[in-house]
């Protein structure tokens, strides 16, 4: 069994350079790689392109990287909870590619699966279709969308083992398993790291082949955006 463990977030992200493309798992603030984001904040790099469904909030998640002006471009589907993001975007300081969420997920999946492009109905007749090839299948129009791949993908799982196998919890799974497959180097931070052999192979969501570095994270805040309670 190949041991993928690194000591901590600092070691895991140390060689991420400026001008590279990063993928980050998470939906809203759920399932984001908190430890790696904190460690990247300490690096002296900028001009990053980040693929992530959302852009965090002003003072947490990817929002922290935006505030420090480390990000050149975001590729996302929804960025509604981040005022600093919206300000940088409207003022032209930040580039953004907004793409339909299902298209984003599938482009990442395709990148990891060696499928260079696919047709999807999402965005037909809208701004999203501009400049894209379209084709009719069974009387309905579809857009050609291409794969997405990154230099590094950074994911957060619930449990992992030293071989890089990952298990996610709840809706914190979201984009994480997809992004794990589409980074040239995938860094996984997990709440609980166990020796290879201790996780039930039947329960693995992401096989270790996709993961190059793994470590047990610390001090998870798991911030909640909309704490909503039954009455």
């Amino acid at each position: 069994m190949i041991d993928k463990t690194v000591k901590n977030a600092q070691e895991a992200v140390a060689d991420i350079p400026s001008n590279c493309m990063l993928m980050m798992g998470g939906f809203g603030l759920s399932g984001i790689p908190e430890n790696c984001i904190s460690a990247i904040l300490e690096l002296d790099i900028d001009n990053l392109t980040i693929v992530s469904n959302n852009a965090g909030v002003d003072d947490f998640g990817i929002g922290l990287l935006l505030k420090k002006r480390m990000v050149k471009k975001m590729i996302s589907s929804y960025v509604g909870e981040n005022a600093e993001f919206e300000r940088q975007l409207l003022s032209g300081e930040l580039e953004v590619d907004l793409i339909p969420q299902g298209t984003l997920a599938e482009r990442v999946r395709a990148g990891g699966a060696g499928i260079p492009a696919f047709f999807t109905p999402a965005g037909v007749g809208t701004e999203v279709a501009e400049g894209k090839e379209s084709r009719e299948f069974d009387g309905k129009t579809y857009l050609l969308e291409s794969w997405l791949k990154a230099d590094f993908s950074i994911v957060k799982a619930w449990k992992g083992d030293t071989a890089g196998n990952l298990i996610f919890k709840g809706t914190a799974r979201n984009f994480n398993p997809l992004m794990a497959t589409a980074g040239r180097i995938c860094i996984a931070e997990v709440e609980e790291l166990v020796p290879a052999g201790e996780l039930d192979p039947n329960q693995i969501h992401t096989p270790g082949i996709y993961v190059q570095r793994i470590f047990q994270g610390v001090n998870y805040e798991k911030r909640i955006e909309q704490r909503t309670i039954s009455r």
Binding site: N53, L90, Q101, T120, T126, G170, T171, K222, Q226, T228
Partner: protein, 219 residues
Amino acid sequence: MLTKEQIAQRIAKEVKTGQYINLGIGIPTLVANYIPQNLDVVLQSENGLLGIGPFPTDDNVDPDLINAGKQTITLAKGSALFNSAESFAMIRGGHVHLTILGAMEVSENGDIANWKIPGKMVKGMGGAMDLVASADNIIVAMQHCSKSGESKLLPECSLPITGVKCVKKIVSDLAVMEISPDGGFILKERAPGVSVEEIQSKTAGKLIIEGDIPEMIFD
């Protein structure tokens, strides 16, 4: 005029047993509160869940369980979790029967705009473009007019659209309308106390009025 809760309550009457349903953010989320207990339905959350349960109690909150609006939720009995690609595979693949979402504008041919106001608001489309391009049945929950009183039911959308010719039914604070296959808002029901004339005057797109238009009935 209907409150947001009443719009949700009226839309809930469209739900049928056996349906898998995706509820958008805002008023659509409220629809869940009004689906009759005796109906067997499954709510889909685009971030990777079939079977959204009620909101949690205070000591039952789990940050790893949220809906598409980032609200904390619980798992319903028999729920299933999956990744985002799987989630949109079931949406695009036509496995979700009913989509309920909000709109800033709807046109008389069923186009919907709800993701962008150029130069002002850029939030992104999230899953809305995938949903409207795929679902067979799309119901829109919206206010009939903007805060400044301008109709949001238009001959053509003025804002960047989310999808073309996809809306089937609209429940606004004033009326229930269906989109005619030939274009136009077919008036089906009025909100209690709202006249056909008022709805007509607040609908910029073509309003089709056939026969007597009943008031909505609330249980």
